[in-house]
Amino acid sequence: MNFVDLLMLGFSEAMTPANLGFCLLGALLGTLIGVLPGIGPTATIAVLLPITFFLPPLAGIIMLAGIYYGAQYGGSTTAILVNLPGEASAVVTTLDGYQMARQGRAGAALAVAALGSFFAGTVATFAIAVAGPTLSSFALNFGPAEYVALMVFGLLAATILASGPVLKAIGMILIGLLLGMVGTDQATGAERLTFGAVELFDGIDFIVIAIGLFGFSEIISNLERSGSEGVTVAPLTRLWPTREDFRNSWAAVLRGTGLGTLLGLLPGGGATLASFSAYSLEKKVSRHPEKFGTGVVEGVAAPEAANNAAAQSSFIPLLTLGIPSNNMMAMMLSAFMIHGITPGPSVLTNQPEIFWGLVASMWIGNLLLVVINLPMIGLWVRLLTVPYRLLYPAILLFCCIGVYSMNNRIFDVILAAGFGLLGYVFRKAKCEPGPLLLGFVLGPLLEANLRRTLLITQGDPSIFIERPISLVMLIATVVLLGLMIFPAFRKTREEAFQEEEA
């Protein structure tokens, strides 16, 4: 069978009324849990997994996949409207998306996010269909040494993410690295910075920090001014993006899609890394980097396209090699196993209807999400007009439920409250928490891979420059570092931020 025949087979499988229904159900559920901060797709899929026993294999898998990419859509909604990243991958969307909402352009931000995601989803779905089998071998070349180089580059690039002085950004990254060290050291089994608390043996959860720094501290700083002005919603001029918005965002969507598709392939990469990287790339190529963080449409379009593309392309290593690249894919792997299907090359040949049915349903699901979400933008935007005295207790409640339900323990909620206070202090000191989160996520990966590399080579660091991928990335890091120290560049950057202050 040729490519077109296989794709037609996939669509005929995905278009049966039952499968279409489960696709819609999954997409709706995903949007809902994406909107609710803290309740992530991993936990939802885990709870729903046993139910899929009773469904035909393809229907069950289509529904679970729908939850996953639906959550990527929903996560951006709360990021834009209330500055609360529903998912880790939506953290950077808060930077410009929330600013747009405050200027009364929430509708435009949501529409650009939805359309950008749809475009990225379409491209990534075709990437799975066309290049899946060949691309997945690239991911295997990524060994510990390549990861070290990638992380070093990523951490340095994170300073571009922040809008304050470079020194503050580096300080935030270092705090992130420190927080990432909490827990049991994987290489020696020693406890680090746990202060004897058994709840900290496995480190601090990302959600605890994200909800504390973004969610709680946002509420605190709003309480500060609620007495005088109340709700900070600017007049809503229009729901649909302007022609100028479209003109400004299409290139960003294209770049985000490309970057996201590639990063989704890497084991451990996935949607979060993709959205962070796309944002810093966009800021770098932009002709007006100083405006990032004040509500520019590219700052929403690029990361949203990237995280959706990565969410889809992370299916490639799973479907073609049977290797899950992140937690979510590990859950999908168990979903396949429950139905006695082992993802891998043999599925492509023996059960093509499963592989192609899923690929086709992803595209249909993305289309459904746009159809569901665009008319609902008005409804989401109306959320902003709910008085804060009602909205904020509700958000606080959802945050607490989300944090509690991860491990069913009150300790996490208290910890998140502590991070809320810390986040408030950061706000007052004009330190952005974005780089802290990236340091927190990348730090442990950097450490683990550095130790792995040196263990494998028995202490010989020359492997970093012997392996081509690693060498290229290290050279890029040095160039970036040079650019930051180079006087002309530094001056432009400082000027840019002074303008912003004014």
Binding site: A46, P50, Q186, A187, T188, G189, R452
Partner: protein, 318 residues
């Protein structure tokens, strides 16, 4: 809700309550099943698959609660503090349950927790790439003898099953291997397929459900060959003294009356005999191996002694 009432002062009251509840157990309210790992893991899926069969058998509801963290200590502490009325049970995993008492101070007394039944015994094993030049443990050992430290073994951390198995092999064969810790079995497997490590430790259940043709096994570390890998020789058969298998089952506080624990154990036994459950277990690569709580309990001291010996080795190496 349960910790405060477990105070000695309330002991008499709770004893009375236990006796009263005995008659109705377990039909008057749901039995809470604590899982010591995050949703989606092997233990979680095993117990979520089993729960409906236990519900049908006992005529009650069994909601599953995940209390992950500290390799099970958080869940075991919660179990030890629960009211001993038979309405709280928990997952129990070895070697974690046995090894955690060796090198750290625990928040609970392991003697307060009694196994109900073992459900699965999943031996550890070493695997290499399918195209690897190594075909047996002896091949690997011979190469490691000539190149000390050059053989890298992917594990999931210090003191984990794979690491303990590697230490046993080092001692038994007199070789020097390099442990490389990964975040999980999947990460380790990716590194193996990319050629970044020589071999990795896996469980037979994971091996049996993996895509065929990518990896091959060198040896399994059980006393007898597992039903999931009848073709693969054990390390003992190949002349190396390596024994390492992970056992997964259920436990309750020891203060729960013994006949309640026996009823639970029997219910697990019947569920495991159900062909419908067996079919689901087969699809998930579960190496079903029922053992009653009493038998499992009796086998633990010997395993514990062995682990204590290996941990001494780790200490000496550091």
């Amino acid at each position: 809700m349960n910790t405060r009432f477990a105070l000695p002062l309330a002991a008499a009251i709770s004893l009375a309550a236990t006796t009263a509840a005995l008659a109705d157990w377990p039909t008057d309210r749901p039995i809470e099943m604590i899982v010591a790992y995050a949703p989606g893991g092997g233990t979680d899926i095993m117990l979520r698959t089993l729960a409906p069969y236990l519900e049908a058998d006992l005529g009650t509801q069994i909601p599953v609660m995940n209390r992950p963290g500290a390799s099970g200590e958080i869940a075991y502490t919660a179990l030890a503090q629960a009211k001993p009325d038979g309405y709280t049970i928990s997952s129990l995993n070895t070697p974690g349950f046995l090894t955690m008492r060796i090198d750290r101070k625990l928040r609970f007394d392991p003697d307060d927790i009694c196994p109900i039944a073992r459900i699965v015994e999943d031996p550890g094993m070493f695997v290499v790439q399918a195209a690897s030049e190594f075909n047996s443990l002896a091949d690997l050992v011979a190469y490691a003898k000539d190149n000390p430290g050059a053989v890298s073994i992917g594990t999931t951390g210090v003191g984990t099953d794979e690491h303990l198995a590697m230490l046993q092999l080092e001692q038994s064969a007199g070789v020097d291997l390099t442990a490389v810790p990964f975040g999980g079995a999947n990460e380790a497997k990716t590194a193996l397929l990319g050629g970044h490590v020589t071999a990795i430790g896996l469980n037979v259940g994971e091996f049996a459900s993996a895509e065929p043709g990518q990896i091959k096994g060198l040896a399994q570390f059980a006393g007898e060959r597992s039903i999931l890998a009848p073709e693969l020789p054990t390390a003992t058969e190949q002349g190396f003294d390596v024994l390492m298998s992970s056992e997964r089952g259920l436990a309750a506080p020891c203060a729960v009356p013994e006949d309640l624990r026996a009823k639970l154990s029997d219910a697990v036994d019947r569920a495991l005999a159900n062909p419908e459950f067996q079919e689901k277990a087969r699809q998930q690569g579960l190496a079903l191996s029922y053992q009653s709580g009493a038998d499992w309990s009796a086998a633990m001291p010997e395993r514990l002694a062995r682990y204590e010996e290996i941990f001494k080795l780790i200490k000496e190496n550091q």
